[in-house]
Symmetry: C2
């Protein structure tokens, strides 16, 4: 299936700098696709720490279980990593014992290629589910990749992990840690967020900052809250969602201090930059939502708590009726009221106000007195739509990104396998 | 907008018998539609009891608030009714104080027309939201309707309450209560379940059985659990959903016993018939789901509890990826695994089995050894698709009805207002 690049794709792709201690290589292993790369090997220097957050699914894929086990305590502790192997085309999910065997075999092939223990190998797979993954295909391939890995292959790496994505997603930031310059590079894939077929969300972030695994894990956990966890395409959650962060520590050679706690005040600028990279990647995922023609930002203010604001924002963001209205360029605030009402969170109809792209359409439980259909309709032509919902109850505020629901989404997901 | 009748519409429409104590009339009041009826008046004899269940939305419509107040204690007590006024074309939702004034005015016009108190008048509105409802349009109309109301107008009544529905929905049952024959008639509307625009779910059930309001309320509350509450079109909940039940008690004249408790053993056959009417109407709502081409039944077995089974079934039923796959006649069990996994309920991947229309496609955490793509693909051509999910954990079981998600759904809801 050939799909044109999303009209919401970023127009500027950043130059991706080298990260000392990380080398990348890609290959076409023929997992499922023909004529394109489908395997990424990232090789990290000794002492690289790793942290991860994963799908909340009760039916996770075999690679998710593998990574969780490596990180210990269900993935919450962090650990050390020498290699990351990502394949596209097959998710190795719902593959039973063969799935577990495939992860073990892949890790052992990678460990031999890189010269480390299998427990230092991290894995992520994306693609069809329920199909056994033939890990023997990695034999030879990973050895060659380990030899040919070089520091500058970021765009090729981002391309190799794509499935139904219409553009590669990368982000970068450079920031001071102590007196040393450190770099953060990230890549992501995900389009039909967050589907198990060909559109699982995967993201990998690398830095040369010297962070302990514990600090990195804490940074990652708090970082996803308002970035990746605040994006939804269709409310569907993959069995394979994986976000891994790696810190090589190479910047210590330039005088960057070693950081062992995420709350260390020296980490302030880094934390901000790290979150910006996550936010950038997460927004790109929304911009590549399957069939998306509009990027939709939902801001909820005046809720009783931030948590309540998040629930209401997600209820609006996942409502098929709201999303189809936006696809139709219709400022249908009635459906927004409906989605607020169904969230089950505190809301008072007679205090509720709603704006589309800065134009207030409803206030205090009724249509805004100054409502002008023509003005609002013109605003809805914009490729970015902001829905602002003021509840008037408290100080809880949150923001969620999504996209519209188009006939193309149905076509992509209805016609996909057949 | 002209839409062909749903291909899932029932082929047999029942003859609707008279219910002693209920008279019906419809009119074209010009609320929004042209050239069709848009007001229904039902006149009930003195002593008619009433019960109701309503939307769980935190932003309910003015008529929902009106009915709840009449029934007392948030609608849980039941009461007496002499009239029901239903209009289509305007939902009188999110209309602030004017909305409350419109319900009061409508009730007072109806009360005068019928010769009762305003608190014995029940109201339901469906249509666009946020538009003030001009209740003065009912002046004169309701008086004429009260005079012309007759017992046999069931099909016309079911037509007058339609909005984006493609066919009128009625159901009937006749059953013994004591030694007397009693009748239950119902009508419903709802298509884009459950949208606030033109597709709110409304249902009205009438019987001549002599039931107290308390018994009727208990019957209704338990009756919706596995019928109306087990249907979803798009997971969206209207501000206006209303199900009212009326019992005229006229069958007492034929010797039917007066029943004051839903648990009365004499009510057993009646309860069964009452639920069958609710189930029939609820299924018709799913069959008229906006853009629906497939009726989808989701059965979850082996869950830890019935409640857990319901949550999993709803997670599958509301998954856009599952619904688009069915629209594409694709037995994509991977997406079913995804939706089971995201429900957050106890599930063990390695015990999970999934069937489509009786053909097992996945068992114990992997593709079924006997999986035959051609056989499954042929089964998916059926207009009715049953997905059976066996969790293998406990005895919890539940069943939910939904429909597929087609390009027509997006067209109907994206192009609706514009």
């Amino acid at each position: 299936m050939s799909i044109a690049v999303s009209p919401l794709a970023p127009t500027n792709v950043p130059e991706m700098p080298v990260i000392a201690g990380v080398r990348l290589a890609t290959a076409a292993a023929g997992i499922r696709y023909k004529g394109r790369t489908d395997v990424l090997l990232a090789v990290m220097d000794k002492g690289t720490t790793v942290a991860g957050v994963f799908t909340q699914s009760k039916c996770p894929s075999a690679p998710v279980e593998w990574c969780r086990a490596r990180l210990g305590r269900g993935g919450s502790r962090g650990g050390f990593a020498r290699a990351l192997v990502v394949n596209s085309g097959n998710a190795n999910a719902f593959t039973g014992k063969t799935g577990r065997q495939a992860t073990a075999l892949t890790a052992s092939i990678a460990a031999k290629a890189v010269g480390c223990g299998p427990s230092e190998v991290f894995l992520a797979s994306t693609g069809v589910i329920g199909e056994p993954l033939d890990a023997t295909k990695f034999d030879g391939v990973l050895g060659t990749l380990a030899e040919s890995a070089v520091p500058g292959e970021w765009m090729n790496a981002a391309r190799a992990i794509m499935t139904t994505d219409t553009f590669p997603k990368v982000a970068t930031a450079t920031v001071k840690l102590g007196k040393a310059k450190v770099t953060i590079n990230g890549m992501a894939k995900g389009a039909g967020m967050i589907a198990p077929d060909m559109a699982t969300m995967l993201a990998f972030v690398f830095t040369d900052a010297p962070l302990t695994a514990g600090a990195l894990q804490a940074l990652l956990k708090s970082g996803v809250e308002d970035t990746f966890n605040a994006v939804t395409i269709d409310g569907d959650t993959s069995t394979s969602d994986t976000l891994l962060a790696f810190a090589t520590g190479a910047a210590a050679a330039n005088g960057a201090p070693r950081i062992s706690r995420a709350s260390d005040p020296r980490l302030k600028a880094f934390t901000k930059a790290f979150r910006a990279v996550l936010a950038d990647l997460a927004e790109q995922v929304a911009r590549d939502g399957e069939g998306a023609r509009k990027l939709v930002e939902i801001i909820v203010e005046g809720a009783t708590t931030k948590k309540s604001a998040r629930k209401i924002a997600m209820s609006v963001a996942n409502s098929p009726l709201v999303k189809t209205a936006i696809a139709g360029e219709d400022a249908n605030w009635g459906r927004v009221v409906m989605a607020v009402g169904k969230a089950g969170e505190p809301a008072n109809r007679d205090k509720l106000s709603i704006s589309f792209n800065g134009i207030r359409v409803a206030s205090r439980g009724a249509r805004d007195p100054g409502y002008d259909e023509a003005e609002v309709s013109a605003a809805m032509k914009n490729p970015k739509i902001q829905i602002r919902i003021a509840l008037g109850l408290g100080k809880g505020r949150d923001r969620v990104l999504t996209c519209d629901l188009t006939k193309e989404y149905v076509a992509i997901n209805g016609d996909y396998r057949s």
